[in-house]
C-alpha cells in the first residue's frame, strides 16, 4: 500500500468512527441514563407533536425516577404490531381507538384494567361514548389523549341571510336540501360551488348512523340494512342531482384537509363536516373566513337522530412485551389529569374526553364553537368506532361499494348487498383465523 493510500484509508476510518459516535449522541440526546427510560411512539408531527411534547416535558420535570422519550413514527399501527411480534415494542404507543379491538384481538396489548384500578381511574371520569371506545371484550386496552367530534362548519359569507346564523341554519335534511339549491353555483355546465357534499370532510363513511343505521350490530355485520341503504341513497343523490361526471370533476379539485386547497377554505364548499381541530386549519390557511359550527341536520322523519356526530379518539396503549409497563402507565395516568388533558386538548384545538370540563377550558379555547363540539360528544347519538377487530375490512368493502354507487355501476342496494356477502364470508374467516373460534 502506498503512503497516500494509507493516509486515505486512515482518514476514511476516522470519518466512519466519528460519524458513528455523532449519530449515537444525536439519537440519545433525549435520554437520561440516571432514570428509567420509557419509549413513547406517537403518530403526530408538527404542532400536534409539539403540544404532546409540552405534556411529556411536564411529566419529565415532575419526578426524578422515569424519563419519557417521545418519538414521532410514521405508519405507527403497522410498526407497533410488528415490533410487538418481534418482542421489542415501545413502552407506550399513541394509536387511534380504531386499533383497540384489532390489536386486542391480536393479543398485542396489555390489559390496563388493574392499573386503572390502582390509580383510581374510573369510567365515570370520561364521556361515556369515548370510554366505550377504550374497552374490548371487557378489558380496558387504552386511555385517551385528544378526542374529536364532528359538526357542520358553515361559511357565513356564502349563506343567504335567512340561513346565516347558527340559530337560522337548517335543522332538518329537507331544509338543508333547500339551502343546497340556493347556494350551489354552476357555470357552463361546470360546478363552481356546492353548498354541501356528504363525502367530503370528516366521518364520510358514517352516514348510515345519521339515519339510525349501523355497520355492525353486536357480532353481526349489517352494512346492507334498510337504514344504511337509505343513508347511501341520500349521499349518492348529490352526485345524481348535479351530474356524476361534473361532481367527480368538481371533487377532484379538493386538496388535503390542512391546506388552502381544502374545499371549505377555498370556498368551493359552503358547509363541511369536520372536527374541532379544523378551526386551526381555517386560522392557518383561510383566516379571513367567517364561519360558525352547528350540529348536522337530521332526517325529517327521524328527530330521534338529532345530535348525530362522528367521534375520533387518540389514545395511549401499552403494547404486549413492553419493558416498563408500570412506568408507562404512570405517564399515561399523568396525561389523564384534568389540567394536563385540557392543556393538550386546547393546544391541539380539540374538545376534552373527560366528563368534567372546566369553564376556563371552554371560555379560552381557540375554537370559538368548542361548546358545540363538547355537547355533541356527550350526545346519545354520538358515533364511536365499531366494536370489532374486523373494522379495516368493513371500511374497505363499504368504501368500494360507495365508489360503485357514485360511478353509477350499482344501486346502493346492489352495492351494499355485494359488500355484505363478501364481509360475511370474511367475518367467518376472521373469527376462525384471527380469533381462533
Amino acid at each position: 500500500m502506498t503512503h497516500s493510500k494509507t493516509i486515505g484509508a486512515a482518514a476514511l476510518a476516522v470519518l466512519f468512527a466519528s460519524s458513528v459516535v455523532i449519530s449515537e449522541r444525536t439519537a440519545s440526546r433525549q435520554t437520561r441514563s440516571d432514570r428509567i427510560v420509557v419509549t413513547y411512539w406517537e403518530k403526530w408531527t408538527k404542532d400536534e407533536m409539539k403540544a404532546m411534547k409540552t405534556i411529556v416535558d411536564r411529566y419529565n420535570a415532575s419526578q426524578s425516577r422515569v424519563f419519557v422519550k417521545m418519538l414521532s413514527i410514521s405508519g405507527i399501527a403497522e410498526k407497533t404490531l410488528l415490533a410487538a411480534s418481534g418482542g421489542n415494542p415501545p413502552d407506550v404507543a399513541g394509536l387511534w381507538s380504531d386499533q383497540v379491538c384489532q390489536f386486542g384481538d391480536a393479543n398485542a396489548l396489555v390489559d390496563l384494567t388493574p392499573y386503572a384500578k390502582r390509580y383510581g381511574i374510573k369510567p365515570s371520569d370520561y364521556i361515556p361514548s369515548y370510554w366505550k371506545d377504550l374497552i374490548h371484550k371487557g378489558k380496558l386496552y387504552a386511555l385517551p389523549t385528544s378526542p374529536g367530534s364532528s359538526a357542520l362548519y358553515v361559511n357565513q359569507d356564502l349563506m343567504p341571510p335567512e340561513y346565516n346564523t347558527p340559530k337560522k341554519f337548517p335543522k332538518t335534511l329537507s331544509q338543508l336540501d333547500r339551502l343546497v339549491e340556493t347556494v350551489t353555483v354552476k357555470k357552463n355546465g361546470k360546478i363552481e360551488r356546492l353548498a354541501f357534499m356528504p363525502r367530503s370532510g370528516f366521518g364520510g363513511g358514517s352516514w348510515p348512523y345519521l339515519f339510525g343505521g349501523a355497520l355492525v350490530r353486536g357480532d353481526k355485520i349489517t352494512v346492507n340494512d334498510r337504514d344504511n341503504v337509505r343513508a347511501w341513497t341520500w349521499v349518492t343523490s348529490f352526485a345524481k342531482r348535479f351530474g356524476m361526471a361534473e361532481t367527480q370533476q368538481f371533487q377532484s379539485t379538493f386538496g388535503v384537509t390542512s391546506s388552502q386547497d381544502n374545499p371549505f377554505i377555498a370556498k368551493r364548499l359552503a358547509c363541511i363536516m369536520e372536527g374541532p381541530w379544523f378551526a386551526n386549519f381555517i386560522r392557518l390557511y383561510g383566516h379571513e373566513t367567517k364561519w360558525f359550527a352547528v350540529p348536522m341536520p337530521y332526517p325529517d322523519d327521524r328527530p330521534d337522530c338529532a345530535g348525530y356526530t362522528v367521534l375520533n379518539l387518540n389514545t395511549l396503549m401499552i403494547p404486549r412485551g413492553a419493558k416498563h409497563p408500570d412506568e408507562a402507565f404512570d405517564f399515561i395516568a399523568f396525561v389523564q389529569k384534568q389540567n394536563n388533558m385540557e392543556l393538550l386538548c386546547r393546544l391541539q384545538y380539540c374538545n376534552t374526553p373527560l366528563s368534567r370540563v372546566s369553564e376556563e377550558f371552554l371560555a379560552n379555547h381557540p375554537n370559538p364553537y368548542i361548546r358545540v363540539f363538547d355537547a355533541l360528544a356527550r350526545s346519545p347519538r354520538a358515533v364511536g368506532r365499531e366494536r370489532t377487530g374486523f373494522l379495516n375490512q368493513i371500511q374497505a368493502e363499504v368504501s368500494n361499494a360507495v365508489d360503485q354507487m357514485d360511478l353509477g355501476q350499482k344501486t346502493p342496494q346492489e352495492a351494499l348487498d355485494d359488500a355484505q356477502r363478501r364481509l360475511e364470508e370474511g367475518w367467518q374467516k376472521y373469527q376462525k383465523q384471527v380469533l381462533g373460534t
Binding site: L82, A106, A245, Q251, N392, D403, G436
Partner: protein, 291 residues
C-alpha cells in the same frame, strides 16, 4: 497457501453470506411455511394445509387485483420498452451537449415514488391540473384522469413511462456496443435508416431488450408505491387495486400474514413461469453475438 487464500476469501464474504442467510433465505423459507398456516403475526401460526391457496382461487378481490396487474403489465411494459429504445436511439446521435440531454432524460427515474405520486396527482387533476388545462386550451376533451375507472388505469400506465430512464441508459450502452462495421456493410448494400435499424440495431441489442423486458415485467407485477399514494384502496371501485397492494393489506391491515404469504408465492410462481416462457420463446427472436 491456497487454503489460506480461500479462508481469507470466505472471511471477506462472510458479512454478505450471513446477511443473505438471515435477511433473505430465512424470510423466504419462513414465508413458504406461513403460507400453509393461519398466522396473524402475534399469535402462533396454525397449520391449515392448502386452505389459503384454495381460498385464493375463489377470492373475487384477489382475481380483480390479478386482472388489474396483468392489464397494467401488458400495457406498461411494451410501451416503456418502445419509449426507452426510442429515447436511447435519439441520445445515441452525435449532437453537441449530448451528455446534458442524457442526464436530463435519466434524472426523472431518480425521483422517489411517493414524491412522484403527489406531483402527478396535481398534473392529472381533472379540473385544475396542468394536463387538462393544456388540453382545454387546445380545445381537446378533458378526461377525468383520476376518478373515472376506465381512464384511471391508463393514467398509471402513462406515469410509469416517467421512470424509463434506467432502461434507457442500458439501451444506450447496448447501442454503443453495436460494431460500426455492420452499419458500414449495410451502407455498402444501400440499406435505408429503417432497414439498418430493423436488421442491424434491433437484432444486436435484442439480448438487452429481453433483459429489460423481463426486469420491467417483474417490476410491473410488483407495482405498489404509485397506486398506493395516488389511488388509496385501489379506487375508484378497485380499478387500480393491484396485487401487491392487496398483499400488503392482507398482511398488515387485515392481519392475515399466512394468506398474504400464499399470495406472495403465487405471484412468485406466476412470474417464474412467465419469465421461463419468455426466455423459451425469445430464442427465436434474440440474437446472441457469441452464438
Amino acid at each position: 497457501m491456497k487454503r489460506h487464500a480461500a479462508m481469507v476469501g470466505w472471511l471477506f464474504a462472510l458479512p454478505w453470506v450471513i446477511g443473505s442467510l438471515l435477511f433473505l433465505a430465512y424470510p423466504l423459507l419462513a414465508s413458504i411455511f406461513y403460507s400453509f398456516t393461519n398466522y396473524s403475526v402475534l399469535r402462533s401460526p396454525r397449520f391449515i394445509g392448502l386452505d389459503n391457496y384454495r381460498e385464493l382461487v375463489h377470492d373475487e378481490v384477489f382475481l380483480t387485483t390479478l386482472k388489474n396487474t396483468a392489464l397494467y403489465t401488458i400495457s406498461a411494459v411494451p410501451l416503456a420498452t418502445v419509449i426507452a429504445i426510442a429515447l436511447a436511439m435519439l441520445l445515441n446521435t452525435k449532437v453537441k451537449g449530448m451528455t446534458v440531454y442524457r442526464t436530463i432524460f435519466f434524472l426523472p427515474s431518480l425521483v422517489p415514488m411517493i414524491a412522484l405520486g403527489v406531483l402527478w396527482l396535481w398534473v392529472f387533476n381533472s379540473q385544475n391540473g396542468l394536463l387538462n388545462e393544456s388540453l382545454r386550451w387546445l380545445g381537446l376533451p378533458t378526461p377525468n384522469w383520476l376518478d373515472d375507472p376506465t381512464v384511471a388505469r391508463w393514467t398509471l400506465v402513462i406515469i410509469s413511462m416517467w421512470g424509463c430512464g434506467n432502461a434507457m441508459i442500458i439501451y444506450l450502452a447496448a447501442l454503443q456496443d453495436v460494431p460500426t462495421a455492420l452499419y458500414e456493410a449495410a451502407d455498402l448494400d444501400g440499406a435505408s435508416s429503417w432497414l439498418k435499424t430493423r436488421h442491424v440495431t434491433l437484432p444486436m441489442i435484442s439480448p438487452v431488450i429481453l433483459f429489460n423486458a423481463i426486469m420491467g415485467f417483474i417490476g410491473a407485477m410488483q407495482t405498489f408505491a404509485l397506486p398506493y399514494v395516488m389511488f388509496p384502496g385501489g379506487r375508484p371501485a378497485r380499478s387500480n387495486y393491484f396485487f401487491a397492494m392487496y398483499l400488503y393489506d392482507n398482511a398488515f391491515l387485515f392481519q392475515r400474514m399466512g394468506y398474504a404469504s400464499a399470495m406472495g408465492w403465487i405471484m412468485f410462481v406466476v412470474t417464474l413461469i412467465l419469465t421461463l416462457m419468455s426466455l423459451k420463446v425469445s430464442s427465436k427472436f434474440v440474437h446472441y453475438e457469441a452464438s
